[in-house]
């Protein structure tokens, strides 16, 4: 990959990569480190991409894999691990939304993130996460149901 293309990709997809990793690890420090690892993999990747969307999907997939490895290496087996440094309400008004979404279990949180942040379709999320579409639909629904208990729809959409 040329330096010019890499710089473009980093600027374009920096938030995509960081946000999906943050959604997994819920820790700003780990998210920063894993995001950099993901972009290093992009720089050293010797394959090509059909399109910018294809590159974006590749980055998300690599980011998701990095997160799973991260948890595996930490033997992070809690049913519902708690974020160590979620932004507090005092720091930012909008953080409440993030804080509430991040308290969802991972299986709901990641599809919700990809749907509402990346605007991916159910089929695209299923492809990225390697899940059947029906599973993604179920998880999106259950995730939304859980959010509804805390937030009104207009509070976050």
């Amino acid at each position: 990959m040329t330096d010019e293309k890499f710089l473009w990709a980093y600027t374009e997809f920096k938030n995509t990569v960081y946000s999906v990793i943050f959604s997994y690890v819920r820790n700003t420090e780990d998210a920063s480190e894993l995001s950099q690892d993901t972009f290093i993999k992009l720089y050293t990747y010797d394959g090509g991409f059909d399109s910018d969307e294809h590159m974006k999907a590749w980055l998300i997939r690599v980011a998701v894999n990095s997160c799973k490895n991260h948890f595996r290496s930490r033997k992070h087996i809690s049913a519902s691990p708690i974020p160590e440094d979620l932004p507090s309400k005092e720091t930012h008004e909008t953080d409440e939304i993030i804080s509430i979404v991040m308290k969802l279990p991972e299986k709901y949180r990641i599809p919700i993130h990809l749907f509402y942040y990346e605007e991916y379709s159910v089929a695209e999320i299923a492809d990225i996460l390697g899940l059947p579409e029906a599973t993604v639909k179920t998880r999106l629904k259950r995730g939304r149901d859980k959010l509804k208990k805390t937030l009104r729809k207009e509070d976050w959409l």
Partner: protein, 365 residues
């Protein structure tokens, strides 16, 4: 309403902007100085061979052979063949040497892959499934030193009726040093479904690669089911202990030690506690609004624990995050639970096992 304008997206962008501040130039510099990940791979074109099973020969559905018996029969040390592919996992190699090992020897093939479930080993806390994966596309194999296998490991009923409640297990597999398109995978499995001579269903669903410049798929769906039984001898014994009279107070929370598991890989202690009514909860009834405070309290306390076994002292390895059982599925409704691990110890042979916390000593044996 356009999703692109949603508040979640705005808030998440804000999180990104505040916390990920590496500039593009800095990132480029880091990427340039990173060591290369690609390695040259030589294609040898050899055919598939069985990893460990070949030492056993044409065996019955599941053989249990002690290390001594195996040597006497001329099969050689089974653990050594495991070490060849999984050199860092000496604990499992020793378990195999001790004879806790069961050959399954089932394979399945589709257009892209042949997957062999070679064997099951490990202990009753952490069973392992050993797979051998052959990638039919040698060009894909040439681009990848490792692959990742995803599988459900459950019983038949759960697989058919409650699959959505369970996640897949996954593990990376390393390439065979001699066969260019073969990978060896040692995957952790669920003790819940693999002990007590249970009938197990392992359903391999996905094989993933980091590099896929030709097909650009990265993740390949597969559907291969392996049904087998795990004999008791195949998994090394784990000592389990239940306690109902050990309460350890942090000053904020009374932690009841209710369960301990002393396995070959580590020693696990589980505690439970009430959170409502504690000062730490501050009147909050939704545990997950205050869970971080409780996790901090547990980590502060558990970090000082010392496990003493016949005079030898062990420090904690890992401390868990908490789980609160609001519906009473796991234990009493409203009780929360967390855990910690120490290194593996020989609980069964030990004469004395104690836990020391802030100068208080609790007898575990």
């Amino acid at each position: 309403m356009a999703v692109s304008e949603n508040k979640y997206k705005k808030a998440m962008n804000d999180v990104c902007d505040r916390n990920f501040n590496v500039s593009a130039a800095e990132m480029l510099e880091k990427a340039r100085s990173a060591p290369p990940t690609e390695r040259n791979i030589t294609m040898t074109g050899k055919t598939k061979t069985n990893i460990i099973g070949k030492f056993i020969g044409a065996a019955a559905a599941c053989l249990i052979i002690s290390g001594t018996a195996a040597s006497a029969m001329g099969y050689g040390p089974l653990g050594d063949s495991f070490r060849r592919f999984f050199g860092k996992d000496e604990t499992t190699a020793e378990i195999i040497d001790e004879g806790h090992y069961c050959e399954v020897g089932q394979d399945a093939t589709d257009d892209g892959f042949t997957v062999l479930l070679d064997s099951v080993t490990g202990d009753r806390s952490s069973p392992k499934l050993l797979f051998e994966v052959t990638v039919h596309d040698e060009e894909l194999a040439a681009k990848n030193d490792k692959l990742r296998l995803f599988a459900y490991v459950l019983d038949e009923d759960t697989y058919r009726n409650r699959l959505d409640d369970y996640g897949m297990w996954d593990a990376w597999g390393e390439k065979d040093p001699d066969v260019s398109n073969m990978y060896h995978v040692c995957m952790d499995g669920p003790a819940t479904f693999m002990i007590n001579e249970a009938d197990v269903l392992a359903a391999v669903k996905q094989i993933s690669f980091e590099n896929d410049p030709v097909n650009r798929k990265f993740d390949y769906d597969v559907d291969m089911e392996f049904r087998f039984n795990v004999p008791e001898q195949a998994l090394k014994e784990t000592a389990y202990e239940c306690y109902d009279d050990i309460t350890i107070s942090s000053g904020n929370v009374d932690y009841e030690l209710f369960y301990a598991e002393f396995g070959a890989y580590d020693s696990l202690l589980k505690v439970k506690y009430d959170f409502m009514g504690t000062d730490l909860a501050g009147g909050e009834t939704d545990y997950y609004q205050v869970a971080d405070k409780f996790d901090k309290d547990w980590h502060d306390l558990a970090g000082n624990f010392i496990l003493t076994v016949d005079g030898a002292e062990y420090e904690p390895k890992e401390m868990g995050y908490s789980y609160c059982d609001t519906e009473g599925e796991a234990f009493d409704a409203g009780k929360c639970s967390t855990w910690m691990t120490f290194p593996s110890v020989d609980f069964t042979s030990a004469e004395s096992v104690t836990l020391t916390v802030n100068e208080q000593v609790y007898d575990l044996k």
